[in-house]
Amino acid sequence: MMPEERTWMLLARVFGREASVPELAELETLLKVHPELYFPVQVVTGLQQKEPLSDLRSLEQAYRHHLSRMADAGIRFPAGAINTPFSLPSPSRSLPLFVPAVFLAAVIAAIYFFRLAARIRYAPIHPPVSIINQCG
Protein backbone atom coordinates (compact mmCIF):
# COMPACT_ATOMS: atom_id res chain seq x y z
CA MET A 1 0.00 0.00 0.00
CA MET A 2 1.28 3.49 -0.90
CA PRO A 3 2.26 5.67 2.09
CA GLU A 4 -0.47 8.14 1.20
CA GLU A 5 -3.18 5.47 1.17
CA ARG A 6 -1.74 4.00 4.33
CA THR A 7 -1.93 7.38 6.04
CA TRP A 8 -5.60 7.75 5.21
CA MET A 9 -6.26 4.22 6.37
CA LEU A 10 -4.55 4.94 9.69
CA LEU A 11 -6.45 8.19 10.05
CA ALA A 12 -9.68 6.27 9.42
CA ARG A 13 -8.75 3.85 12.19
CA VAL A 14 -8.01 6.73 14.56
CA PHE A 15 -11.33 8.33 13.60
CA GLY A 16 -13.14 5.05 14.24
CA ARG A 17 -11.34 4.67 17.59
CA GLU A 18 -9.94 1.38 16.39
CA ALA A 19 -6.28 2.31 16.05
CA SER A 20 -3.88 0.05 17.94
CA VAL A 21 -0.74 1.30 19.66
CA PRO A 22 1.53 0.09 16.80
CA GLU A 23 -0.78 1.83 14.31
CA LEU A 24 -0.58 5.08 16.28
CA ALA A 25 3.22 4.73 16.32
CA GLU A 26 3.20 4.15 12.58
CA LEU A 27 1.09 7.27 12.08
CA GLU A 28 3.47 9.21 14.30
CA THR A 29 6.37 8.14 12.08
CA LEU A 30 4.46 9.14 8.96
CA LEU A 31 3.66 12.53 10.48
CA LYS A 32 7.32 13.11 11.33
CA VAL A 33 8.30 12.41 7.75
CA HIS A 34 5.33 14.33 6.34
CA PRO A 35 4.53 17.19 8.75
CA GLU A 36 2.27 18.70 6.08
CA LEU A 37 -0.29 16.12 7.20
CA TYR A 38 -0.66 17.57 10.63
CA PHE A 39 -3.61 19.80 9.73
CA PRO A 40 -5.72 17.01 8.18
CA VAL A 41 -5.00 15.02 11.32
CA GLN A 42 -6.24 17.90 13.45
CA VAL A 43 -9.41 18.09 11.37
CA VAL A 44 -10.00 14.36 11.67
CA THR A 45 -9.47 14.31 15.42
CA GLY A 46 -11.65 17.42 15.72
CA LEU A 47 -14.44 15.63 13.89
CA GLN A 48 -14.51 12.80 16.38
CA GLN A 49 -17.77 12.49 18.19
CA LYS A 50 -18.05 13.76 21.71
CA GLU A 51 -20.10 11.84 24.19
CA PRO A 52 -23.48 13.55 24.30
CA LEU A 53 -24.62 14.21 27.82
CA SER A 54 -27.22 11.72 28.94
CA ASP A 55 -30.51 13.23 29.88
CA LEU A 56 -31.26 11.17 32.94
CA ARG A 57 -34.84 12.39 33.28
CA SER A 58 -35.84 11.44 29.74
CA LEU A 59 -34.09 8.09 30.12
CA GLU A 60 -36.01 7.43 33.33
CA GLN A 61 -39.23 8.34 31.55
CA ALA A 62 -38.42 6.07 28.61
CA TYR A 63 -37.56 3.24 31.00
CA ARG A 64 -40.83 3.65 32.91
CA HIS A 65 -42.70 3.52 29.62
CA HIS A 66 -40.71 0.43 28.66
CA LEU A 67 -41.58 -1.25 31.97
CA SER A 68 -45.27 -0.53 31.47
CA ARG A 69 -45.08 -2.11 28.00
CA MET A 70 -43.39 -5.13 29.58
CA ALA A 71 -46.13 -5.32 32.18
CA ASP A 72 -48.79 -5.04 29.43
CA ALA A 73 -47.12 -8.00 27.73
CA GLY A 74 -47.32 -9.94 31.01
CA ILE A 75 -43.56 -9.87 31.59
CA ARG A 76 -42.37 -9.22 35.12
CA PHE A 77 -39.00 -9.37 36.75
CA PRO A 78 -38.61 -12.49 38.89
CA ALA A 79 -39.25 -11.96 42.57
CA GLY A 80 -35.62 -12.61 43.44
CA ALA A 81 -34.22 -10.28 40.78
CA ILE A 82 -31.37 -8.12 41.97
CA ASN A 83 -32.19 -4.46 41.77
CA THR A 84 -29.35 -2.42 43.18
CA PRO A 85 -29.42 1.33 42.63
CA PHE A 86 -26.90 2.71 40.18
CA SER A 87 -25.81 5.93 38.62
CA LEU A 88 -25.01 6.40 34.99
CA PRO A 89 -21.38 5.49 34.42
CA SER A 90 -19.04 8.22 33.37
CA PRO A 91 -18.59 8.08 29.60
CA SER A 92 -16.06 5.30 29.56
CA ARG A 93 -15.75 5.53 25.79
CA SER A 94 -14.16 8.89 26.23
CA LEU A 95 -10.97 7.00 27.08
CA PRO A 96 -10.51 5.36 23.69
CA LEU A 97 -11.52 8.69 22.14
CA PHE A 98 -9.24 10.61 24.40
CA VAL A 99 -6.09 8.53 24.08
CA PRO A 100 -5.51 8.80 20.31
CA ALA A 101 -6.63 12.43 20.33
CA VAL A 102 -4.09 13.35 23.02
CA PHE A 103 -1.45 11.22 21.35
CA LEU A 104 -1.95 12.96 18.03
CA ALA A 105 -2.13 16.38 19.65
CA ALA A 106 1.24 15.66 21.28
CA VAL A 107 2.71 14.56 17.95
CA ILE A 108 1.37 17.68 16.24
CA ALA A 109 2.68 19.91 19.03
CA ALA A 110 6.09 18.24 18.84
CA ILE A 111 6.27 18.70 15.09
CA TYR A 112 5.22 22.33 15.41
CA PHE A 113 7.77 22.91 18.18
CA PHE A 114 10.69 21.41 16.26
CA ARG A 115 9.81 23.28 13.10
CA LEU A 116 9.59 26.52 15.08
CA ALA A 117 12.87 25.76 16.85
CA ALA A 118 14.57 25.09 13.51
CA ARG A 119 13.21 28.34 12.11
CA ILE A 120 14.51 30.31 15.11
CA ARG A 121 17.91 28.61 14.94
CA TYR A 122 18.43 29.62 11.32
CA ALA A 123 16.79 33.01 11.53
CA PRO A 124 19.19 35.97 10.94
CA ILE A 125 20.02 37.82 14.14
CA HIS A 126 19.13 41.51 13.97
CA PRO A 127 20.61 43.92 16.53
CA PRO A 128 18.07 45.84 18.55
CA VAL A 129 16.89 49.10 17.00
CA SER A 130 18.39 51.13 19.88
CA ILE A 131 21.90 49.81 19.04
CA ILE A 132 21.42 50.61 15.35
CA ASN A 133 20.42 54.15 16.29
CA GLN A 134 23.49 54.53 18.52
CA CYS A 135 25.76 53.40 15.66
CA GLY A 136 24.06 55.77 13.25
Partner: protein
Amino acid sequence: MTSVDNTFELQERIGLANDEAAYKQLFFLFFGSLRRFAMAILRSNEAAEEVVSDVFIKLWQRRSRIMAIENLGAYLYVSTKNTAFNYRAGRNNQQAFDLPDPGMAATSPNPEQAMITAEMMNQIQQVVHSLPPRCRMVFRLVKEYGLRYKEVAAVLDISIKTIDNQLAIALRRISQALFLKLDKPKARFRR
Protein backbone atom coordinates in the same frame (compact mmCIF):
# COMPACT_ATOMS: atom_id res chain seq x y z
CA MET B 1 -22.29 6.15 22.01
CA THR B 2 -22.94 2.64 22.79
CA SER B 3 -20.25 0.03 23.20
CA VAL B 4 -19.39 0.88 26.72
CA ASP B 5 -16.55 -1.02 28.27
CA ASN B 6 -18.75 -2.55 30.96
CA THR B 7 -21.31 -3.96 28.50
CA PHE B 8 -19.94 -7.46 28.96
CA GLU B 9 -20.21 -7.14 32.72
CA LEU B 10 -23.86 -6.09 32.37
CA GLN B 11 -24.43 -8.99 29.97
CA GLU B 12 -23.08 -11.40 32.60
CA ARG B 13 -25.15 -9.90 35.38
CA ILE B 14 -28.33 -10.15 33.31
CA GLY B 15 -27.62 -13.63 31.99
CA LEU B 16 -26.27 -15.23 35.12
CA ALA B 17 -28.01 -13.33 37.93
CA ASN B 18 -31.27 -11.96 36.47
CA ASP B 19 -29.97 -8.59 37.57
CA GLU B 20 -32.71 -6.04 36.91
CA ALA B 21 -30.41 -3.13 37.74
CA ALA B 22 -27.95 -4.32 35.09
CA TYR B 23 -30.82 -4.55 32.61
CA LYS B 24 -31.85 -0.99 33.43
CA GLN B 25 -28.27 0.19 33.09
CA LEU B 26 -27.96 -1.50 29.72
CA PHE B 27 -31.21 0.17 28.64
CA PHE B 28 -29.88 3.56 29.72
CA LEU B 29 -26.63 3.03 27.88
CA PHE B 30 -28.12 2.03 24.56
CA PHE B 31 -31.56 3.56 24.44
CA GLY B 32 -30.60 6.98 23.02
CA SER B 33 -28.45 5.77 20.17
CA LEU B 34 -30.73 2.84 19.31
CA ARG B 35 -33.75 5.14 19.18
CA ARG B 36 -31.94 7.53 16.85
CA PHE B 37 -30.90 4.58 14.73
CA ALA B 38 -34.48 3.28 14.57
CA MET B 39 -35.66 6.81 13.76
CA ALA B 40 -33.50 6.71 10.65
CA ILE B 41 -35.56 3.77 9.42
CA LEU B 42 -38.99 4.71 10.72
CA ARG B 43 -38.99 8.54 10.67
CA SER B 44 -41.15 8.48 13.78
CA ASN B 45 -39.99 9.01 17.33
CA GLU B 46 -42.91 7.08 18.79
CA ALA B 47 -42.39 4.09 16.51
CA ALA B 48 -38.64 4.16 17.16
CA GLU B 49 -39.17 4.07 20.93
CA GLU B 50 -41.58 1.19 20.53
CA VAL B 51 -39.09 -0.75 18.42
CA VAL B 52 -36.25 -0.25 20.91
CA SER B 53 -38.55 -1.25 23.74
CA ASP B 54 -39.47 -4.42 21.83
CA VAL B 55 -35.79 -5.23 21.34
CA PHE B 56 -35.16 -4.92 25.08
CA ILE B 57 -38.25 -6.96 25.92
CA LYS B 58 -36.98 -9.78 23.70
CA LEU B 59 -33.54 -9.46 25.25
CA TRP B 60 -35.00 -9.95 28.73
CA GLN B 61 -37.14 -12.85 27.60
CA ARG B 62 -34.11 -14.54 26.09
CA ARG B 63 -31.68 -13.63 28.85
CA SER B 64 -30.85 -17.27 29.55
CA ARG B 65 -29.08 -17.28 26.17
CA ILE B 66 -27.57 -13.83 26.44
CA MET B 67 -24.08 -15.17 27.19
CA ALA B 68 -23.99 -16.77 23.75
CA ILE B 69 -24.01 -13.29 22.19
CA GLU B 70 -20.48 -12.39 21.18
CA ASN B 71 -20.95 -8.63 20.84
CA LEU B 72 -24.02 -7.34 22.63
CA GLY B 73 -23.73 -3.86 21.11
CA ALA B 74 -23.73 -5.21 17.57
CA TYR B 75 -26.56 -7.59 18.49
CA LEU B 76 -28.72 -4.72 19.75
CA TYR B 77 -28.14 -2.66 16.61
CA VAL B 78 -28.89 -5.57 14.29
CA SER B 79 -32.00 -6.48 16.32
CA THR B 80 -33.14 -2.86 16.18
CA LYS B 81 -32.58 -2.73 12.44
CA ASN B 82 -34.49 -5.97 11.85
CA THR B 83 -37.34 -5.05 14.19
CA ALA B 84 -37.63 -1.59 12.60
CA PHE B 85 -37.73 -3.07 9.10
CA ASN B 86 -40.40 -5.54 10.19
CA TYR B 87 -42.36 -2.72 11.78
CA ARG B 88 -42.07 -0.68 8.62
CA ALA B 89 -43.07 -3.61 6.43
CA GLY B 90 -46.14 -4.03 8.64
CA ARG B 91 -47.04 -0.41 8.04
CA ASN B 92 -46.26 -0.79 4.33
CA ASN B 93 -43.94 2.17 4.55
CA GLN B 94 -41.11 1.59 2.10
CA GLN B 95 -39.00 4.72 2.38
CA ALA B 96 -35.31 4.21 1.76
CA PHE B 97 -33.09 3.65 4.78
CA ASP B 98 -30.82 6.61 5.25
CA LEU B 99 -29.59 8.32 8.34
CA PRO B 100 -31.14 11.70 9.09
CA ASP B 101 -29.12 14.76 8.34
CA PRO B 102 -28.75 17.18 11.19
CA GLY B 103 -27.10 14.71 13.53
CA MET B 104 -23.61 15.81 12.71
CA ALA B 105 -24.18 19.38 13.78
CA ALA B 106 -26.00 18.20 16.86
CA THR B 107 -23.20 15.98 18.08
CA SER B 108 -20.20 17.84 16.75
CA PRO B 109 -17.67 19.05 19.25
CA ASN B 110 -17.28 22.64 20.28
CA PRO B 111 -15.84 24.28 17.13
CA GLU B 112 -13.35 26.28 19.17
CA GLN B 113 -12.07 23.12 20.76
CA ALA B 114 -12.02 21.27 17.50
CA MET B 115 -10.67 24.15 15.42
CA ILE B 116 -13.55 23.59 13.05
CA THR B 117 -15.56 26.61 12.01
CA ALA B 118 -19.23 26.68 11.09
CA GLU B 119 -18.22 27.22 7.49
CA MET B 120 -16.04 24.14 7.60
CA MET B 121 -18.88 22.15 9.14
CA ASN B 122 -21.15 23.22 6.27
CA GLN B 123 -18.55 22.14 3.77
CA ILE B 124 -18.14 18.84 5.56
CA GLN B 125 -21.89 18.25 5.53
CA GLN B 126 -22.01 18.95 1.82
CA VAL B 127 -19.25 16.44 1.21
CA VAL B 128 -20.97 13.87 3.40
CA HIS B 129 -24.13 14.41 1.33
CA SER B 130 -22.25 13.73 -1.87
CA LEU B 131 -20.58 10.51 -0.67
CA PRO B 132 -21.70 7.20 -2.17
CA PRO B 133 -24.52 5.69 -0.05
CA ARG B 134 -22.48 2.99 1.64
CA CYS B 135 -19.59 5.34 2.32
CA ARG B 136 -21.98 7.92 3.77
CA MET B 137 -23.65 5.32 5.94
CA VAL B 138 -20.32 4.07 7.34
CA PHE B 139 -19.17 7.59 8.08
CA ARG B 140 -22.40 8.53 9.84
CA LEU B 141 -22.65 5.35 11.85
CA VAL B 142 -19.12 5.93 13.16
CA LYS B 143 -19.24 9.71 13.46
CA GLU B 144 -22.78 10.43 14.54
CA TYR B 145 -23.91 7.20 16.12
CA GLY B 146 -20.57 6.32 17.68
CA LEU B 147 -20.70 2.71 16.53
CA ARG B 148 -17.56 0.61 16.69
CA TYR B 149 -16.30 -1.19 13.61
CA LYS B 150 -17.76 -4.54 14.70
CA GLU B 151 -21.16 -2.95 15.17
CA VAL B 152 -21.06 -1.21 11.79
CA ALA B 153 -19.97 -4.48 10.19
CA ALA B 154 -22.92 -6.30 11.75
CA VAL B 155 -25.47 -3.60 10.92
CA LEU B 156 -24.45 -3.15 7.28
CA ASP B 157 -23.28 -6.72 6.78
CA ILE B 158 -19.89 -5.66 5.47
CA SER B 159 -16.32 -6.54 6.41
CA ILE B 160 -14.01 -4.57 8.70
CA LYS B 161 -11.73 -4.05 5.71
CA THR B 162 -14.60 -2.41 3.80
CA ILE B 163 -15.26 -0.10 6.75
CA ASP B 164 -11.58 0.89 6.79
CA ASN B 165 -11.71 1.65 3.07
CA GLN B 166 -15.02 3.52 3.12
CA LEU B 167 -14.05 5.61 6.12
CA ALA B 168 -10.68 6.45 4.56
CA ILE B 169 -12.49 7.56 1.39
CA ALA B 170 -14.88 9.73 3.39
CA LEU B 171 -12.12 11.40 5.41
CA ARG B 172 -9.99 11.96 2.35
CA ARG B 173 -12.86 13.62 0.50
CA ILE B 174 -13.63 15.82 3.49
CA SER B 175 -10.02 16.90 3.71
CA GLN B 176 -9.93 17.57 -0.02
CA ALA B 177 -13.05 19.66 0.25
CA LEU B 178 -11.36 21.71 2.93
CA PHE B 179 -8.43 22.29 0.57
CA LEU B 180 -6.21 20.08 2.61
CA LYS B 181 -5.26 17.88 -0.24
CA LEU B 182 -2.76 15.22 0.46
CA ASP B 183 -2.31 14.88 -3.28
CA LYS B 184 -0.30 18.07 -3.45
CA PRO B 185 2.72 16.85 -1.52
CA LYS B 186 2.50 13.50 -3.28
CA ALA B 187 6.01 13.91 -4.72
CA ARG B 188 7.36 14.13 -1.20
CA PHE B 189 6.18 10.63 -0.39
CA ARG B 190 8.83 8.01 -0.80
CA ARG B 191 7.60 5.33 -3.20
